[in-house]
């Protein structure tokens, strides 16, 4: 097999920071290569250089044995390199085929003076035919006239891939392709990738989900802290544990160790018939009801955008609710201000860490008391005691293992995702809340910190706290929760006991194919054993 793309000592620096150091990588034509590494390890930087978005500081890039320098993605596509980004770059108001041809439209050609000259009208008929042919050839199961806003996430991803195939690329780079997919769609994607490989395409897939890597990759390259640690073939000697160790540089616990302490009998937190509407009067939360007992974790599963964000906002007192109650130990707390909710003993880990969870330009010490800054000893009759604030910060930084470099109280914007999340965890957990509402606790967090955060959440559970965990990562929900509720289109479609659940069954409820009756949801034990 020939090498399709090769990097030699590729280095990329941003100011003093080296994102990639001397990366030498060879990718063979027709293979699926997985590039894995923790968040912030430099995977995306490397791919952005392969796709011409970034230019290397030093080192060489060879495509089919010839040295190339790409100034922009346009150059990359011309060479035959395509990339599908984690966040889709599609125009929702256009149709599938319009999105695919966007920027590479076919125009009518006219004959003039015996020569062919391009006109300026778009030849939509020809475009549609070409794209239909492409869809048929790769069996992509798309209707070219559907509006992109109406199709599922998985279909959107297929459109993105088609966009690249239409431009006739040989090398396809996929950045975290499974992050937004439900389990069935993940399987589907992996099958498609293998089919594409068989048709002669080369695929690079960036991810940190090891199971998927094991399912499709031929070879696996591991990047840690900007350096290539090594490339291993995907065979029986390569285990998830060994890969994780390569990624992190030490042994990692991949499973969560949940104590078998049973959930309590007393209901501590209850949501009753919660309904909320958006500005178009469309129901974004539809009659949501669930309860959380003492020392119980309730996981909320679902494809992103099915009301989880709104549920969190409503429970945090940041969104108005049309109907329903939220009760804490029997008392209605719906409609209270966020600071009042905190005083009642509810802790929050918001979904958007950098918008709602932290104030980026503010020091750690000030972030780590936010929301509790009116309490003694930090504040006395409206006057702040910044010495107490700093002391508290020093203590919590140590206790919650927030890693700092030389500066002892930097702004939060300087921290990595995992350390930033630890600041929030420290803030909320150190107050010993009676109820804890958590959303996407480990998104963008490195493996080492994930382990820490999961253990902290479970430790809170064992101390009796009632916890809700919303996450788009199914294995996270399943690992942490005692009970799982599934959301689809703003409704709860199912409720499961976590130890009886299987993922493909969950997928059916996540995609709205199945829907439990209210009674079944109440009982909280949908059929996971079928």
């Amino acid at each position: 097999m020939d090498t399709i793309i090769e990097t030699r000592n590729l280095t990329k620096k941003f100011g003093d920071f080296t994102a990639n150091r001397n990366i030498s990588l060879e990718i063979e034509e027709g293979e699926i290569r997985a590039i894995i590494g923790e968040n912030g390890a430099g995977k995306s930087t490397l791919m952005n250089m392969l796709y011409g978005i970034l230019q290397p500081t030093s080192g060489q890039l060879l495509y089919r044995g010839r040295e190339v320098s790409m100034k922009s993605p346009k150059d990359a596509i011309e060479l035959g390199i395509g990339m599908v980004h984690q966040h889709f770059k599609l125009s929702p108001s256009l149709t599938v085929y319009e999105n695919i041809v966007l920027g590479a439209e076919t125009v009518h050609s006219h004959s003039a003076f015996g020569k062919k000259v391009p006109g300026f009208l778009i030849d939509t008929k020809k475009e549609k035919e070409e794209i239909q042919a492409l869809i048929d050839r790769f069996d992509f199961n798309l209707n070219i006239m559907d509006k992109v806003s109406d199709i599922s996430v998985g279909a959107k991803q297929r459109v993105e891939i088609l966009k690249m195939l239409y431009r006739d690329v040989d090398l396809l780079i996929l950045d975290e392709p499974t992050a937004v997919l439900i389990p069935q769609e993940v399987d589907d994607l992996i099958e498609r990738l293998i089919a594409l490989k068989k048709s002669g395409k080369t695929i690079i897939i960036i991810t940190h989900k090891l199971n998927e890597v094991k399912m499709c990759a031929d070879n696996i390259s591991v990047i840690r802290a900007g350096e290539l640690i090594g490339t291993v073939p995907n065979d029986s000697t390569t285990t998830n544990e060994s890969l994780a160790e390569m990624m992190v540089g030490r042994q990692v616990l991949l499973r969560v160790n949940k104590s078998d302490k049973a959930a309590g009998e007393k209901v501590r937190f209850a949501v009753k018939n919660l309904t909320a509407v958006d500005s178009d009067n469309k129901k974004i939360l539809n009659n949501i009801s669930f309860e959380i007992h003492e020392n119980e974790v309730v996981g909320v599963a679902g494809v992103e955008g099915n009301g989880q964000t709104e549920l969190m906002l409503a429970l945090s007192g940041l969104m108005e609710v049309r109907e329903g109650r939220v009760e804490m130990e029997g008392e209605n707390i719906c409609g209270l201000w966020p600071d009042e909710l905190r005083r009642k003993g509810i802790g929050f880990i918001p979904e958007d860490r950098y918008q709602q969870g932290l104030c980026l330009d503010e020091k750690i010490s000030n972030n780590i008391i936010a929301g509790y800054h009116e309490l003694s000893p930090y504040c006395n009759k409206g006057i702040m005691n910044y010495r107490a604030v700093r002391e508290n910060s020093r203590k919590l930084v140590k206790e919650y293992d927030v890693r700092l470099s030389a500066d002892l109280d930097p702004t939060v914007g300087c921290l990595s995702g995992g350390n930033a999340q630890k600041v929030i965890i420290a803030r909320e957990f150190s107050r010993d809340p009676r109820v804890l509402l958590v959303s996407q606790p480990t998104r963008g967090v490195d493996i080492g910190a994930i382990e820490f955060i999961h253990n902290q959440i479970l430790a809170m559970r064992d101390r009796g706290t009632a916890i809700m965990v919303i996450s788009s990562d199914l294995s996270e929900v399943a690992g942490l929760a005692d009970r799982i509720i599934v959301m689809y289109h703003g409704e709860i479609t199912g409720c499961f006991k976590a130890d009886e659940v299987n993922f493909s069954e969950l997928g059916l409820y996540m995609s709205g194919v199945k829907h439990m009756s209210d009674q079944e949801i109440q009982q909280g034990k949908g059929g996971g054993r079928e």
């Binding site: 600071d339 104030c359 936010a370």
Partner: protein, 372 residues
């Protein structure tokens, strides 16, 4: 590592310093060109202004007299800008406050001096606060853009107070003004020949109050966070909409007091040109922008602006240089400051620095080899 942080800090301070000094040089440079056009040696002009406004007790008192309301309006603005709330309406609040103080100054009679002065100041503060509450409530409750509302309310304030003075409160003189306020309502001049009154102490008290509020209180912590990230502030329960109204109300009451000090200490009656070209509200706004809302900077710039105001007047009579020349310096200064040349292009400058350092190092090693 330690050395690195130290160097980074040094670079930061250097950049800040450059961003203050270079605009100053540029602005006075532009002023110098216009000064030459007017037929006046710029060095003579600037020297004259410095001499007149700083180098004598009388000059300093006049400078402080002009700086007094600017300090107050500057602090009113800085409170709102810290929270990234653009209260551009201090000028209007100054007018409303001045008008209220002028009325309270002659309509209420029979009070002893101290009480009357206090009452006038409180009336002015209340008027300014109420007037500022309008855009505050609109912004907090209905999310109406405060820049638009405050600027429109400025025009309304100047026109309505002018209209009332002209039509209903005039004294029959050639120009429209209200009746003089009573002796009991006047602020005392520190020296009767110069502009500075006891209002300068009011200004300093307000300055210290805002300084304390911003640096030491929970309210200050909150507005700092609101200014940096509104969503965050809401999420941790700072009740942003209420705080915004408070910011407007406090700022408005200061604006009202600033207007009152001009009436009670200098004019003794309300003329609707008392705060013209540019208004004291606007000078406070500029001082605040230049200082990046930092209290100490606001104080310094307010005094510089006071000196320029007085110096320009002095230069007009002493050297025959038009007043507007100094306004040009002031405006270009704001313009050059707004560029934040160094802070916004710091990576480029840092690149230059590192390259220079590398070159030095290379040169040094080359020399070293020569010796060997």
């Amino acid at each position: 590592m330690k050395g690195d942080t130290f160097r980074r800090k040094a670079v930061n301070i250097g950049i800040k310093f450059c961003d203050i000094v270079i605009p100053l040089i540029l602005a006075f440079g532009v002023g110098a060109i216009f000064s030459l056009i007017c037929g006046c040696n710029p060095f003579t002009l600037y020297g004259y202004i410095i001499k007149r406004s700083f180098l004598s007790v009388g000059g300093i008192l006049n400078t402080l007299g002009y700086a007094t309301p600017i300090i107050i309006t500057g602090m009113a603005t800085s409170l709102s800008l810290k929270a990234k709330v653009f209260n551009m309406g201090v000028e209007g609040q100054v007018f409303v406050g001045a008008f209220a103080a002028a009325l309270a100054g002659y309509m209420i009679t029979g009070l002893p001096t101290f009480l009357h002065v206090t009452l006038c100041l409180l009336t002015a503060a209340a008027a300014g606060a109420l007037y500022a509450a309008i855009p505050g409530v609109l912004k907090a409750r209905l999310n109406v853009n405060e820049v638009v509302t405050t600027i429109m309310l400025n025009s309304i304030a100047t026109i309505v107070t002018g209209f009332l003075t002209q039509s209903y409160l005039g004294t029959g003189d050639a120009y429209a003004h209200t009746e003089n306020i009573l002796q009991t309502a006047r602020l005392v001049k520190l020296d009767s020949k110069y502009r500075c009154t006891t209002a300068v102490f009011i200004a300093l008290i307000i300055w210290a109050f805002v300084f304390f509020l911003m640096k030491k209180t929970k309210f200050g912590y909150d507005i700092n966070c609101i200014g940096k990230q509104v969503e965050f502030s809401d999420a941790v329960g700072m009740r942003v909409s209420r705080k915004i109204i408070w910011i407007f109300v406090i700022g408005g009451s200061f604006g009202g007091i600033a207007g009152a000090t001009e009436i009670m200490g200098v004019n003794y009656n309300f003329v609707n040109t008392f705060s013209a070209n540019p208004g004291i509200g606007w000078d406070g706004f500029f001082a605040c922008i230049l200082a990046g809302s930092e209290p100490i900077g606001v104080l310094l710039y307010a005094i510089v602006f006071g000196a320029l105001r007085y110096g320009a007047l002095a230069a007009q009579t002493g050297l025959g240089v038009p007043l507007d020349l100094i306004n040009i310096v002031k405006s270009t200064l704001v313009l050059f400051m707004a560029l934040k040349l160094f802070a916004n292009h710091r990576s480029a400058f840092q690149d230059l620095l590192t390259r220079a350092r590398k070159k030095n190092k290379a040169a040094l090693t080359a020399e070293g080899e020569d010796v060997l």
